[in-house]
């Protein structure tokens, strides 16, 4: 049980709350303020109420990009989550191998995001890139520039390469907290490998996996830098995700519409985080300990 202690509790979270108010709440309020105005330059603006929101809600382009982003996130999760867990299970529990595995696997996480597409465009080149040459070898005319399916494939491969390591790191670190006694008990009961996974490892990992799901889902839903670097949302808007659409609007200095869009995105984010938190609380109280 946690102790009820209002005074200390709040005093200790105040510094973090202040900083996050400056870099989070304040910009958010500014954005909400902008979203009700038609702005040419910041000194000259006209109150137009909810017009930008109405326009956005009625724009097929917005709904299409929302659909694309949701599809992208779903595909990313269905690949990265099982793959990450599988690899985390295959990494040995102790020994020198552990550090080597984790360190080498995490290299993609350390690469600046605008560099990721540079590396991948180079990797996909048909004349010199390893992957491009491989596609050429198996007779696939890989054309990420003009074939929408190929652009999607390139983006998914790139994201899996970039982020699966995070799922591995999180899954592995929660696996390593399981006491060996659990495995010994399972061995005495002659549990199968699947049963060990289903009744020991998965419940132990569930909290951290929910966190991994949230991080990966949101980050791929709002993907911007990496996806923009590959094909700028093309061909013909086939990879125009939520993030890219907003980024382009900001670059064009469309203050009002981009602010309204930001507010809508933030509402989507809040809703997903709330759903996630509800799932986490249910899992905590659901006896899956």
């Amino acid at each position: 049980m946690k102790t009820l202690n209002h005074k200390h509790g709040w005093a200790m979270v105040i510094p973090a709350t202040i900083i996050l108010s400056i870099v989070g709440v304040l910009p958010l309020l500014t954005v909400i303020n902008y979203s009700f105005f038609d702005i040419f330059i910041l000194d000259k603006r006209f109150w137009i109420g909810l017009e930008w929101y109405q326009e956005l809600m009625q724009s097929p382009r917005f709904w299409a990009s929302l659909g694309r982003s949701l599809l992208f996130s779903t595909l990313i999760l269905t690949i990265q989550l099982p793959l990450g867990i599988l690899i985390a299970l295959a990494i040995p529990k102790r020994g020198i191998w552990v550090a080597i595995c984790l360190m080498t696997m995490s290299v993609p996480l350390l690469i600046p995001w605008n560099v990721i597409p540079i590396i991948w465009l180079n990797y996909l080149r048909i004349d010199t890139g390893f992957l491009g040459q491989f596609f050429d070898f198996i007779g696939v005319d890989f054309d990420w520039k003009f074939n929408p399916i190929h652009t999607w494939l390139a983006l998914i491969l790139m994201d899996v390469w970039h982020w699966t390591s995070l799922v591995i790191l999180l899954a592995y670190s929660s696996l390593s907290t399981i006491p060996t006694a659990y495995y010994q008990a399972a061995a005495i009961d002659r549990a199968s490998r699947w049963q060990i996974f289903r009744y020991i490892e998965l419940p132990k990992m569930s909290g951290i996996l929910l966190m991994a799901i949230l991080l990966r889902f949101m980050d791929s839903l709002m993907i911007y830098t990496e996806a923009f670097g590959i094909n700028s949302g093309g061909p013909q808007n086939a990879t125009l995700f939520l993030g890219i659409d907003l980024g382009e609007q900001i670059k064009a200095f469309d203050y009002g519409p981009s602010a309204a869009r930001s507010v809508i995105y933030f509402i989507i984010i809040l809703f997903i985080v709330w759903a996630f938190k509800t799932a986490l609380d249910r899992q905590k109280s659901g006896g899956l300990k």
Partner: protein, 263 residues
């Protein structure tokens, strides 16, 4: 069969992870030739020589390292008490606050970039490493609180209670008992702050208009009418090295720690 599978899977994954990078390293040691010419690229140290002698690239590395370290110094002292409070106390609004922190972690920078720029230019934080470090707190503080909280959860509560019975005040308990115990946790947290701050591009771009350019922008600036791809690749290789060094220091702690949702 199962045994081989356990060996082959991680190795295969590492190989796939490294394939694009091998190409980067390979190109960083080759001379850059234009597509039209017939000459073959040959081995050279020139790219690395250019990298180390270029004042702009050196300054960019310095800027990046400065704001990442500033960010760590801002984040950890603030996140540590908050993580302790979330772990040990229950207070009014704690659940909602945690939810709000999480929401800010997953808010993409592109949503807040424009007003952030307006606010920071009002208070004169544009073009300074401190500005970027502060902006990056948006995601490093929530991540740090989460990591530190799971580490603190793993410490039995009896430890706190005994210390308080022995007459320790809360600050003294923090400084003399909790901090030494949490040293590995702080290392891991610093690594994750580093990781998310080093790779971020949107804030780093919008908050550096004229100077203070980080390494990410310096790489973008290398692209032009005739890009020296060899040099680009050398800079990319160099940009991964600080992270590898950080990882090396925390390698043994990173694997044991997170146990979120199992208090």
């Amino acid at each position: 069969m199962k045994k081989y599978f356990k060996i082959i899977l991680p190795i295969a994954y590492i190989a796939l992870v490294f394939l694009p990078l091998v190409q980067v390293v390979q190109m960083s040691f080759l001379t850059t030739v234009s597509a039209a010419s017939t000459e073959q690229p040959v081995f050279t140290w020139l790219n690395y020589y250019n990298l180390f002698t270029s004042p702009t690239l050196g300054a960019a590395f310095f800027n990046s390292i400065t704001y990442v370290l500033l960010n760590i110094c801002l984040t950890i002292p603030v996140a540590l008490p908050a993580a302790y409070a979330f772990s040990r106390y229950s207070f009014i609004g704690d659940k909602h606050l945690f939810l709000a922190f999480l929401a800010f972690r997953v808010t993409p920078p592109v949503v807040l970039a424009l007003p952030m720029f307006k606010i920071f230019s009002l208070i004169g934080l544009v073009n300074t490493p401190f500005g970027i470090a502060l902006a990056h707190c948006l995601f490093t503080i929530p991540v740090s609180i989460w990591i530190l909280e799971s580490f603190i959860n793993a410490i039995p509560k009896q430890l706190d209670e005994t210390a308080f019975l022995d007459g320790y005040s809360l600050p003294r308990f923090f400084y003399e008992i909790l901090l030494p115990l949490l040293a590995p946790a702080i290392g891991v947290t610093a690594f994750f702050c580093f990781l998310f701050s080093w790779v971020e591009v949107v804030f780093a771009r919008i908050l550096t208009v004229t100077n203070g350019k980080p390494i990410t922008m310096a790489i973008d600036a290398l692209f032009g009418f005739s890009t020296d791809m060899g040099l680009v690749m050398a800079v990319i290789v160099a940009s991964v090295i600080p992270g590898m060094v950080m990882f090396y220091f925390v390698r043994n702690h990173i694997a044991k720690g997170f146990s979120f949702g199992q208090t």
